[in-house]
Subunit: 247 residues, 2 copies
Amino acid sequence: MESNVIYVVGIGPGAEEMMTVQAQTVLDHVDTIVGYQVYLDLLGARYQYKELISTPMKQETRRCEICFEEAEKGKSVAMICSGDAGVYGMACLMLEIGKSYPQIEIEVIPGITAATSGAAVLGAPLNHDFCVISLSDLLTPWELIERRIRAAGEGDFAIALYNPSSKKRSDYLRRACDILLESRKPDNACGYVENIGREGTKAYTCTLQELRNQQVNMFTTVFIGNSQTQMIENQLVTPRGYKTDEV
Amino acid sequence: MESNVIYVVGIGPGAEEMMTVQAQTVLDHVDTIVGYQVYLDLLGARYQYKELISTPMKQETRRCEICFEEAEKGKSVAMICSGDAGVYGMACLMLEIGKSYPQIEIEVIPGITAATSGAAVLGAPLNHDFCVISLSDLLTPWELIERRIRAAGEGDFAIALYNPSSKKRSDYLRRACDILLESRKPDNACGYVENIGREGTKAYTCTLQELRNQQVNMFTTVFIGNSQTQMIENQLVTPRGYKTDEV
């Protein structure tokens, strides 16, 4: 691995087997791995002898700067993100901060994001056009989140909701469902998956009306089918289109 | 691998290193791999000694049935899809046809879809809420595609467009841009990537107004930033939010 390149690596949902071969190769070869402690802990034993550096939550900018400081010392560095590095991940912040370090190149290594790893557990809820929306309003005004939920509802998109709940935001999923019920039927097929790719993976299916009353935790990804989505034996199946036997 | 399970495997964009370890393990162990010939050809030499079965384009239903017939003979079977098995892939059709084969289980193995593998090439265009829309009207009425593009534009989503062009549909990208220009500025940051994860990967950035006049081919994925997306040294960077230094 080159020392003038920082790799921003999506490690997937958690289980090492859900990393790409490319991500594994990068982590095998770098000197230093930087990341949020929870993600460093997800890495298997084979990486624990490396130099591992973490910063607490809310110190993402500092975490990025550490990568550049280590790279400037001549070390090869990987910054890890859960899921995909460019889906609510650190790729954007690294590229922004990278403007101050023009001699260092940044390479983004994609990973499996919860939309597709969670979809695989539930069957095929995103098998046609879909939206990914985070319900976290830490960095985004709630009005914009509402506007996007409304647009996704009206466009009849299948939807994956990230960060559907936290202690401070226990009613956000209910609010999202209420907005979707403006344009969708109460029996619109839905589902959610807890702990994707980690110990204790659990999947549930329900209607949109029922989803409104579910208590989900922060390790959950929620799926809302489009108007064509069927529930087949507790799985969600969104057809690829409106005719059959064609591409 | 169990013979009463069919694995529907997303192999990622093409390069073997962009497969997950899990996908590789499944393909290493099954007896029979079924898929569209182009995808079978993408598989490395290590799989070419296996029983490989393909059907032509537009015979997807037959391709699925073959999987079940082979599984009924006692073989372990994988159906491969490019990208992710559940994003415009075969997972839905396999689950639908699987209703007639209740003794056979279907397991979906996710892969890296072009939205995230292409985004990684361009920097971080999808680093906030985003939509994935296919411009192919083979299975979807164009009116619905238009409605979704309009909704994605109005919701200020970052957007990944799949199947942006073909011989019969050479003006579809222009039509999509014109719909987006109803709600977005002409200088909205955009980009596109050809041959993601394959030989000859090429990335381009441009404005929405310029994208309108680009000739793209069927091996291209198009990215449209949201109103906050910046172009930093020919890369697209969509910020994670509207404040800094928080999660």
